[in-house]
Protein backbone atom coordinates (compact mmCIF):
# COMPACT_ATOMS: atom_id res chain seq x y z
CA UNK A 1 0.00 0.00 0.00
CA UNK A 2 2.91 2.30 0.71
CA UNK A 3 3.83 2.76 -2.94
CA UNK A 4 0.50 4.41 -3.68
CA UNK A 5 1.24 7.37 -1.46
CA UNK A 6 4.13 8.62 -3.58
CA UNK A 7 2.08 10.87 -5.81
CA UNK A 8 0.40 11.05 -9.16
CA UNK A 9 3.54 10.57 -11.21
CA UNK A 10 3.74 6.95 -10.04
CA UNK A 11 0.11 6.23 -10.83
CA UNK A 12 -1.08 6.19 -7.22
CA UNK A 13 -2.71 9.03 -5.36
CA UNK A 14 -3.94 11.86 -7.54
CA UNK A 15 -3.38 14.26 -4.65
CA UNK A 16 -0.81 14.50 -1.94
CA UNK A 17 -2.15 14.19 1.65
CA UNK A 18 -0.46 17.47 2.56
CA UNK A 19 -1.86 19.40 -0.42
CA UNK A 20 -4.85 20.52 1.62
CA UNK A 21 -2.61 22.77 3.72
CA UNK A 22 -1.29 24.86 0.82
CA UNK A 23 -2.02 28.55 1.31
CA UNK A 24 -3.20 30.03 -1.97
CA UNK A 25 -5.08 33.18 -3.03
CA UNK A 26 -8.81 32.71 -2.60
CA UNK A 27 -9.86 34.70 -5.69
CA UNK A 28 -7.50 33.14 -8.27
CA UNK A 29 -3.94 34.08 -9.12
CA UNK A 30 -0.78 32.55 -7.73
CA UNK A 31 1.33 35.16 -5.93
CA UNK A 32 0.72 35.79 -2.24
CA UNK A 33 1.50 39.22 -0.82
CA UNK A 34 0.75 40.37 2.72
CA UNK A 35 -2.61 41.87 1.67
CA UNK A 36 -3.73 38.94 -0.53
CA UNK A 37 -6.99 37.30 0.55
CA UNK A 38 -5.93 33.67 0.85
CA UNK A 39 -7.94 30.62 1.87
CA UNK A 40 -6.28 30.91 5.30
CA UNK A 41 -7.60 34.45 5.70
CA UNK A 42 -11.07 33.51 4.54
CA UNK A 43 -11.44 30.55 6.88
CA UNK A 44 -9.96 32.46 9.83
CA UNK A 45 -12.49 35.18 9.12
CA UNK A 46 -15.30 32.61 8.93
CA UNK A 47 -14.22 31.23 12.30
CA UNK A 48 -14.41 34.73 13.79
CA UNK A 49 -17.77 35.28 12.09
CA UNK A 50 -19.12 31.98 13.46
CA UNK A 51 -17.98 32.91 16.98
CA UNK A 52 -19.54 36.34 16.63
CA UNK A 53 -22.85 35.06 15.28
CA UNK A 54 -23.14 32.29 17.87
CA UNK A 55 -22.49 34.54 20.84
CA UNK A 56 -24.29 37.68 19.60
CA UNK A 57 -27.38 35.99 18.19
CA UNK A 58 -27.35 33.54 21.10
CA UNK A 59 -27.56 36.34 23.65
CA UNK A 60 -29.77 38.80 21.73
CA UNK A 61 -33.17 37.27 22.51
CA UNK A 62 -32.65 36.22 26.09
CA UNK A 63 -35.53 34.03 27.13
CA UNK A 64 -36.11 31.90 30.20
CA UNK A 65 -36.63 28.88 27.99
CA UNK A 66 -33.55 29.15 25.79
CA UNK A 67 -33.62 28.61 22.05
CA UNK A 68 -31.16 26.11 20.64
CA UNK A 69 -28.63 28.81 19.80
CA UNK A 70 -28.95 30.40 23.22
CA UNK A 71 -28.35 27.06 24.94
CA UNK A 72 -25.19 26.45 22.93
CA UNK A 73 -23.92 29.97 23.63
CA UNK A 74 -24.70 29.61 27.34
CA UNK A 75 -23.10 26.17 27.43
CA UNK A 76 -19.88 27.48 25.85
CA UNK A 77 -19.81 30.51 28.14
CA UNK A 78 -20.46 28.49 31.28
CA UNK A 79 -17.95 25.84 30.28
CA UNK A 80 -15.07 28.27 29.82
CA UNK A 81 -16.08 30.41 32.80
CA UNK A 82 -16.04 27.40 35.12
CA UNK A 83 -12.68 26.30 33.74
CA UNK A 84 -11.12 29.72 34.40
CA UNK A 85 -12.66 29.96 37.85
CA UNK A 86 -11.62 26.42 38.86
CA UNK A 87 -8.01 26.77 37.78
CA UNK A 88 -7.12 30.45 38.22
CA UNK A 89 -9.46 31.27 41.09
CA UNK A 90 -11.48 34.46 41.46
CA UNK A 91 -8.57 36.67 40.38
CA UNK A 92 -8.36 34.92 37.04
CA UNK A 93 -11.94 35.77 36.12
CA UNK A 94 -10.68 39.22 35.05
CA UNK A 95 -8.88 37.52 32.14
CA UNK A 96 -11.89 35.40 31.17
CA UNK A 97 -12.69 37.39 27.95
CA UNK A 98 -9.26 36.62 26.50
CA UNK A 99 -9.51 32.91 27.29
CA UNK A 100 -13.08 32.74 25.97
CA UNK A 101 -11.91 34.40 22.72
CA UNK A 102 -9.11 31.88 22.33
CA UNK A 103 -11.42 28.93 22.98
CA UNK A 104 -14.17 30.07 20.64
CA UNK A 105 -11.77 30.93 17.83
CA UNK A 106 -9.94 27.61 18.02
CA UNK A 107 -13.06 25.50 18.36
CA UNK A 108 -14.79 27.28 15.46
CA UNK A 109 -11.70 27.11 13.24
CA UNK A 110 -11.31 23.40 14.01
CA UNK A 111 -14.95 22.55 13.35
CA UNK A 112 -15.14 24.66 10.17
CA UNK A 113 -11.98 22.90 9.03
CA UNK A 114 -13.83 19.58 9.18
CA UNK A 115 -16.19 20.67 6.38
CA UNK A 116 -15.26 19.03 3.08
CA UNK A 117 -13.10 21.22 0.81
CA UNK A 118 -12.47 23.69 3.61
CA UNK A 119 -9.20 24.93 5.02
CA UNK A 120 -8.08 24.70 8.65
CA UNK A 121 -6.15 27.74 9.85
CA UNK A 122 -5.30 25.98 13.12
CA UNK A 123 -3.41 23.26 11.21
CA UNK A 124 -0.76 25.88 10.43
CA UNK A 125 2.09 26.55 12.80
CA UNK A 126 2.02 30.19 11.69
CA UNK A 127 -1.43 30.57 13.27
CA UNK A 128 -0.93 28.52 16.43
CA UNK A 129 2.52 29.93 17.15
CA UNK A 130 1.05 33.44 17.12
CA UNK A 131 -1.70 32.33 19.52
CA UNK A 132 0.78 30.55 21.81
CA UNK A 133 3.33 33.38 21.76
CA UNK A 134 0.57 35.85 22.60
CA UNK A 135 -0.33 33.71 25.61
CA UNK A 136 3.33 33.31 26.60
CA UNK A 137 4.09 37.04 26.40
CA UNK A 138 0.84 38.00 28.16
CA UNK A 139 1.51 35.57 30.98
CA UNK A 140 5.17 36.53 31.41
CA UNK A 141 4.48 40.28 31.38
CA UNK A 142 1.49 39.82 33.67
CA UNK A 143 3.58 37.75 36.09
CA UNK A 144 6.22 40.46 36.37
CA UNK A 145 3.66 43.28 36.60
CA UNK A 146 1.63 41.50 39.31
CA UNK A 147 4.45 40.04 41.39
CA UNK A 148 7.58 41.97 40.43
CA UNK A 149 10.77 40.03 41.06
CA UNK A 150 8.79 37.52 43.13
CA UNK A 151 7.65 36.02 39.83
CA UNK A 152 11.12 34.46 39.59
CA UNK A 153 10.06 32.34 42.56
CA UNK A 154 8.32 30.21 39.94
CA UNK A 155 11.75 28.84 39.04
CA UNK A 156 13.06 28.58 42.61
CA UNK A 157 11.26 25.57 44.08
CA UNK A 158 11.20 26.46 47.76
CA UNK A 159 9.89 23.06 48.84
CA UNK A 160 12.88 21.14 47.41
CA UNK A 161 16.13 20.51 49.31
CA UNK A 162 18.59 23.40 49.00
CA UNK A 163 21.18 21.40 47.06
CA UNK A 164 18.61 20.43 44.42
CA UNK A 165 17.20 23.92 43.90
CA UNK A 166 19.74 25.25 41.35
CA UNK A 167 19.30 22.09 39.24
CA UNK A 168 15.53 22.38 39.45
CA UNK A 169 15.78 26.08 38.58
CA UNK A 170 17.54 25.21 35.30
CA UNK A 171 14.95 22.55 34.49
CA UNK A 172 12.06 24.86 35.35
CA UNK A 173 13.59 27.64 33.25
CA UNK A 174 13.93 25.34 30.23
CA UNK A 175 10.41 23.98 30.66
CA UNK A 176 9.12 27.54 30.93
CA UNK A 177 10.63 28.53 27.60
CA UNK A 178 9.52 25.30 25.89
CA UNK A 179 5.91 26.13 26.83
CA UNK A 180 5.02 28.21 23.75
CA UNK A 181 6.66 25.57 21.52
CA UNK A 182 4.68 22.63 22.90
CA UNK A 183 1.56 24.76 23.32
CA UNK A 184 1.45 25.66 19.63
CA UNK A 185 2.81 22.44 18.14
CA UNK A 186 0.30 20.33 20.09
CA UNK A 187 -2.67 22.08 18.50
CA UNK A 188 -1.30 22.38 14.96
CA UNK A 189 0.23 18.89 15.03
CA UNK A 190 -2.95 17.18 16.18
CA UNK A 191 -5.18 18.95 13.70
CA UNK A 192 -2.74 18.53 10.82
CA UNK A 193 -2.11 14.85 11.57
CA UNK A 194 -5.83 14.09 11.68
CA UNK A 195 -6.54 15.84 8.39
CA UNK A 196 -3.58 14.17 6.70
CA UNK A 197 -4.75 10.73 7.89
CA UNK A 198 -8.23 11.33 6.46
CA UNK A 199 -6.65 12.27 3.13
CA UNK A 200 -4.46 9.16 3.17
CA UNK A 201 -7.56 6.98 3.71
CA UNK A 202 -9.27 8.93 0.92
CA UNK A 203 -6.34 8.00 -1.32
CA UNK A 204 -6.83 4.28 -0.55
CA UNK A 205 -10.43 4.61 -1.73
CA UNK A 206 -9.12 4.83 -5.31
CA UNK A 207 -8.33 1.10 -5.16
CA UNK A 208 -11.58 -0.82 -5.69
CA UNK A 209 -10.55 -3.77 -3.48
CA UNK A 210 -9.92 -1.73 -0.35
CA UNK A 211 -12.40 1.09 -0.97
CA UNK A 212 -15.12 -0.20 1.45
CA UNK A 213 -12.53 -0.33 4.24
CA UNK A 214 -11.22 3.07 3.21
CA UNK A 215 -14.69 4.57 3.49
CA UNK A 216 -15.16 2.95 6.91
CA UNK A 217 -11.75 4.28 7.90
CA UNK A 218 -12.62 7.79 6.77
CA UNK A 219 -15.89 7.68 8.72
CA UNK A 220 -14.14 6.46 11.87
CA UNK A 221 -11.35 9.01 11.55
CA UNK A 222 -13.87 11.77 10.94
CA UNK A 223 -15.64 10.87 14.18
CA UNK A 224 -12.34 10.89 15.97
CA UNK A 225 -11.46 14.23 14.42
CA UNK A 226 -14.67 15.81 15.70
CA UNK A 227 -13.59 14.74 19.19
CA UNK A 228 -9.99 15.85 18.66
CA UNK A 229 -11.10 19.27 17.38
CA UNK A 230 -12.96 19.93 20.59
CA UNK A 231 -10.42 18.33 22.92
CA UNK A 232 -7.48 20.22 21.43
CA UNK A 233 -9.34 23.54 21.77
CA UNK A 234 -10.11 22.54 25.37
CA UNK A 235 -6.50 21.56 26.05
CA UNK A 236 -5.18 24.80 24.55
CA UNK A 237 -7.53 26.83 26.74
CA UNK A 238 -6.91 24.82 29.88
CA UNK A 239 -3.14 25.16 29.48
CA UNK A 240 -3.60 28.90 29.02
CA UNK A 241 -5.47 28.85 32.35
CA UNK A 242 -2.66 26.87 34.00
CA UNK A 243 -0.03 29.31 32.71
CA UNK A 244 -2.17 32.21 33.87
CA UNK A 245 -2.45 30.64 37.31
CA UNK A 246 1.35 30.39 37.46
CA UNK A 247 1.58 34.09 36.66
CA UNK A 248 -0.97 35.04 39.32
CA UNK A 249 0.38 32.75 42.05
CA UNK A 250 4.05 32.04 41.23
CA UNK A 251 4.85 30.36 44.56
CA UNK A 252 4.36 26.63 44.25
Amino acid sequence: MATETHGAEEGGLVFHPMDQFIVEPFFGGTDVAWYTVTNATVWSFLAVLATFLLLVLGSSKRSVIPSRMQSVAELAYGFVYKMVEDICGKEGVKYFPYIMTLFMFIVCANFLGLLPASFTPTAHFAVTVVLAMAVFLTVTILGFVKNGAAFLGLFWVASAPLALRPVLAVIELISYFVRPVSHSIRLAGNVMAGHAVIKVFAGFAALTVVSPFAILGITAMYGLEVLVSFIQAYVFTILTCVYLKDALHPSH
Partner: protein, 74 residues
Protein backbone atom coordinates in the same frame (compact mmCIF):
# COMPACT_ATOMS: atom_id res chain seq x y z
CA UNK B 1 20.43 7.99 -1.11
CA UNK B 2 20.09 10.82 1.38
CA UNK B 3 16.39 11.19 0.64
CA UNK B 4 15.84 7.49 1.28
CA UNK B 5 17.67 7.70 4.61
CA UNK B 6 15.40 10.60 5.52
CA UNK B 7 12.40 8.37 4.82
CA UNK B 8 13.82 5.67 7.09
CA UNK B 9 14.39 8.31 9.74
CA UNK B 10 10.80 9.49 9.38
CA UNK B 11 9.61 5.93 9.90
CA UNK B 12 11.78 5.62 13.01
CA UNK B 13 10.44 8.92 14.32
CA UNK B 14 6.93 7.49 14.02
CA UNK B 15 7.85 5.04 16.81
CA UNK B 16 7.66 8.07 19.09
CA UNK B 17 3.95 8.35 18.32
CA UNK B 18 3.49 4.81 19.62
CA UNK B 19 5.39 5.70 22.77
CA UNK B 20 3.09 8.68 23.28
CA UNK B 21 0.14 6.33 22.84
CA UNK B 22 1.46 4.21 25.73
CA UNK B 23 1.78 7.35 27.82
CA UNK B 24 -1.72 8.57 27.06
CA UNK B 25 -3.11 5.09 27.72
CA UNK B 26 -1.37 5.04 31.09
CA UNK B 27 -2.81 8.39 32.08
CA UNK B 28 -6.36 7.55 30.98
CA UNK B 29 -6.24 4.01 32.42
CA UNK B 30 -5.01 5.15 35.80
CA UNK B 31 -7.59 7.91 35.84
CA UNK B 32 -10.32 5.38 35.15
CA UNK B 33 -9.01 3.04 37.84
CA UNK B 34 -9.02 5.86 40.35
CA UNK B 35 -12.38 7.17 39.18
CA UNK B 36 -14.06 3.80 39.61
CA UNK B 37 -12.80 3.54 43.17
CA UNK B 38 -14.04 6.98 44.08
CA UNK B 39 -16.57 8.12 41.46
CA UNK B 40 -17.60 11.20 43.42
CA UNK B 41 -14.11 12.70 43.12
CA UNK B 42 -13.76 11.91 39.42
CA UNK B 43 -15.66 14.89 38.01
CA UNK B 44 -13.40 17.39 39.74
CA UNK B 45 -10.28 15.80 38.25
CA UNK B 46 -11.17 15.73 34.55
CA UNK B 47 -9.17 18.94 34.00
CA UNK B 48 -6.10 17.25 35.51
CA UNK B 49 -6.75 14.26 33.26
CA UNK B 50 -6.70 16.39 30.14
CA UNK B 51 -3.61 18.31 31.23
CA UNK B 52 -1.84 15.00 31.86
CA UNK B 53 -2.92 13.65 28.48
CA UNK B 54 -1.80 16.87 26.80
CA UNK B 55 1.67 16.69 28.32
CA UNK B 56 2.09 13.02 27.46
CA UNK B 57 0.86 13.58 23.96
CA UNK B 58 3.04 16.63 23.29
CA UNK B 59 6.15 14.47 22.96
CA UNK B 60 4.41 12.19 20.50
CA UNK B 61 3.51 15.25 18.48
CA UNK B 62 7.17 16.29 18.56
CA UNK B 63 8.05 12.88 17.08
CA UNK B 64 5.42 13.43 14.39
CA UNK B 65 6.95 16.83 13.71
CA UNK B 66 10.41 15.30 13.30
CA UNK B 67 8.91 12.83 10.84
CA UNK B 68 7.28 15.68 8.90
CA UNK B 69 10.52 17.64 8.80
CA UNK B 70 12.40 14.61 7.52
CA UNK B 71 9.76 13.97 4.87
CA UNK B 72 9.31 17.50 3.57
CA UNK B 73 12.08 19.76 4.80
CA UNK B 74 15.27 17.65 4.56
Amino acid sequence: MEGELAHIGAGLAAIGSGAAAIGVGNVAGNFLAGALRNPSAAASQTATLFIGIAFAEALGIFAFLVALLLMFAV
